[in-house]
Amino acid sequence: MTEKLKLDKKLISLCRNYTKEIADRVEKKIENHTTTSVERTVLRLLGIDGVDQYGIPIPNLIIKKVKKENKLNKGIAYWFGNALIQTELSVQVLAEKVTKDEVDLFSLPQKDQDIVQQYMLNLAEEKIKKISKNVTKRKKMKEKYPCGPKPWLYVIVATGNIYEDLKQAKAAARQGADIIAVIRSTAQSLLDYVPYGPTTEGFGGTYATQANFKIMREALDQVIKEEGRYIQLVNYCSGLAMPEIAAIGAIERLDMMLNDAMYGILFRDINMKRTFVDQHFSRMINAYAGVIINTGEDNYLTTADPVQEAHTVLASQFINEELGLRTGLKNDQLGLGHAFEINPDLEDSFLLEIAQAQMVRQIFPKAPLKYMPPTKYMNGDIFKGHLMDGIFNFASIMTDQSIQLLGMLTEAIHTPFLQDRALSIDNAKHVFNSARNISDEIYFKEDGKIQKRANQVLQETAEILKDIADKGLMEALSQGTFADIKRPIKQGKGLDGVIKKAADYYNPFIEIFSEELSIKDE
C-alpha cells in the first residue's frame, strides 16, 4: 500500500522523540516505587486466591498486614518467600494461615536476601508457566480456529449477571462477533481489590472476577470449537486493581484488556503515580501473556470536541505507544484507541473523520487499532443511530482499522439488548463485506481537505508533545492538557498505596518479565 496521506515523516519522528523524553521523565519519577496493588499481584501470580469470611481477598489481607508494618518497601516476595522457606508450607496454605494470623511473616527467622530471591525466582518461574501455557494454547487454537478477518467485530455484554451475559456472549459469537467484552460494573475501578466468585448483580456491567473470567472463557472456548472461529475475550485492566486484573486475566486466558496510561487519572481521579506504577507492571503481565491492550483515547472525545481536540488523541496514542513498548508490549499488542465522535451534522464531517482514521493507521502501521463508535451524538432515533453506525463501519473498512467496537442503535437509551447487538453485527458484516477491498482502491486528493486535515492534526500534536516534554507529563496532566481535566500530582485516589522501594526491594516477576520480554531499562 502506498501511503495515502502525505504525512510529514520528520514530524512523526519528532513526535516520537518528544514522547521518548516524556517517557524518560515519567519512568524516572516512578522507577523507585511499588504499590499495594503491585504487591497483591505478586501474590496472585504466585497462585494465591480466595477471600476471608467477610469476602476480603486474601492478597489484600496479606498486603495490608505488611503495609501496616511499613515493610512493603522490601517487596512482598521477600516476606512471603522467607515464610515459605521457613514454614515449608504450600503457597496457598501459607497465605491462608497468614490471614488467619496463624503465621506471622515478621516473627519468623529471616533468611538471606539472596537465598529468598533465588527461591522466589524459581517459584515464580514455575508458577508463571501457567501463563506461558495459555500463550501456547491461544496460539494453537488460533491456528486451528482462525480469527475472522479484520476489522474484528467487537461487542459488549453488560447485563450485570454473568449467566445472562453468557447467553448473550455466546449468541453474539455465533452471530458473527469476533470479540466479546464483558463491561465492568460501574465504579469497580474504584475498588482497591478484585471481587470474588461468580457474580449476578452488577450495575451497568458485570464485576470483573476471576470466576467470571473463567466462566466466560470456557463458554467461548466451546463456541470457538463449534463455530470454528477464535473468539477473543476482553475485560478492563484499569482502576485501583489494575495489575491484579492483568494477572487474573493472564491466568484465565483473556485476549485483550482495556489498559490505558492515563485513563484512570483523568476519568477516575486516581493518583497519577499510583497509576503509572500500576500500569507499568500490569502491562508487563499483558505483554508476557500475549494480551492486546486497548487504550482509551476515545474517552477524551466523549467530553471534548473531536475536531478541536483531535491532536490530544494522537498525542496520547504516541504516549501509550512509547510507555507500552517500554513494558515489553510488541507493536501488534498496542490496540491504540480512537473514536468516531465527530458531530455528524458538520458538513464534511466524514472527511475529517477519514483523515484522522487514516492518519492513525499510517502512523501506527502495525498496531491493532481500536476504533470506537459514535456515542455522544446518538439520540433516541434508533433508525438514524443504525445509519450512523453503518457510516462508522464504512469509515473503518475504508481506512483499515483493526478492532471495531460496534455501535448500538440504542446507544442513547439502554445498555445493549440481545437484538441491538445482533443488528449491529449484521450492520458491520454487511458494510465490511460489500466494501471489503475499498481501502485498496481509493486514494485521496493531493493536498485536498483530507490530506490537509491530517497534516494539521499532526502539526498540532507535535506542538503539544513538545510542550508536554518541556514541562513533564505529570505537570501537563495537572494543568488540564487532556480532556480539559486537571489532576493535581499529589491528589487522587490510591496515593496511599504508593510506596518507595527500599534498596533491597525484590519482585521476581519483574525480573522474569524483563528478561523474557527483553526490556532494557529495568
Binding site: A158, T159, N161, E164, Q168, N379, G380, D381, I382, F383, T410, A412, I413, H414, T415, P416, F417, L418, Q419
Partner: protein, 255 residues
Amino acid sequence: MNNRDIIKAYGDTYNDGKVQLSFTLPIERGFQAEEAARIYCLKLGLKEVEVVHMKNLKEGFTFFVVYAVCDLSVDVSKISVAKIDTEEMSYYAVNDYIIEKIKRPLTVIGACTGSDAHTVGLDAILNMKGYAGEYGLERYPQIKTFNLGSQVTNEKLINKSVEVKADAILVSQVVTQKNIHIKNLTEFVEILEAEGLRDEFILILGGPRISHELALELGFDAGFGSGTKPNQVASYLAQKKYDNLKENKGGENIE
C-alpha cells in the same frame, strides 16, 4: 409443558418483556404529543412506556420511538401451526421419486394472477435458472412446465390448466395492498369449485406474504412464502400427487 414454554419478550434479561415500537400520530410535536404517545401505549396495556424519540414530521404529524414492557406471555406448547409435512428432497431425488412412484411426468402450470405483474417470484420457482442454487421446475426432466407470466385472469389460467391437463396449478400473488390477493384468490377457488374442477388439480399458492395456513384457509392445498426454493415445491408436488393417486383422487389410478 414446562416453564420454558411460557415466553415473553427478551431485552437483556429473561422475561423482561421489552419491546420497541414506532408510529406516527396526527399531532403537533410537543409535550402534549409526547404524553399522547405515552397514553396510546399505556392503553395497549404496555408498561414502563418510555418515549425515547419524537420527531416533527410537519403538517401536524409527529413520529415517535418508544420502548416499553409487554407483560403478557405466550404459551408455546399451545401453539399449533399447519405445516407442510412432506419431506424435502433434492432435485435428483424428486425426479427418481416421480419415475418410481408416479411412473409418468407431471405437468404444472403457473401464473401471476389478477393485476399482479410481479413475475420474479414465480419465475424463481419455475424457470430453468431456479433460485438460491436450486434448479427451477422447468429443468426437472420429470416435470413439464407452463409459465403464463403476469396479469393472467383466473378464467384464462383455469382454461389453460384444463387444456394442458395440468397436475398442479401454481399461483403467485405479491401485491397484497387492501387485501386484493384475498379477493382474487377466493374467486379463483370459487370458479374451480363451481365448475367441478377443484379436485382435478393440486393448488399451490406462493408469494412473500403467503403462509401455508393462509393458503389452506383460501382452499389451496399448500402455500409457500418468502425464500421458498424450487425443490421444496417439487418435493411437495411429487409426494402430494402420489398421495392423491393412492387415494384415487382426481380419478387416475396408480398402475
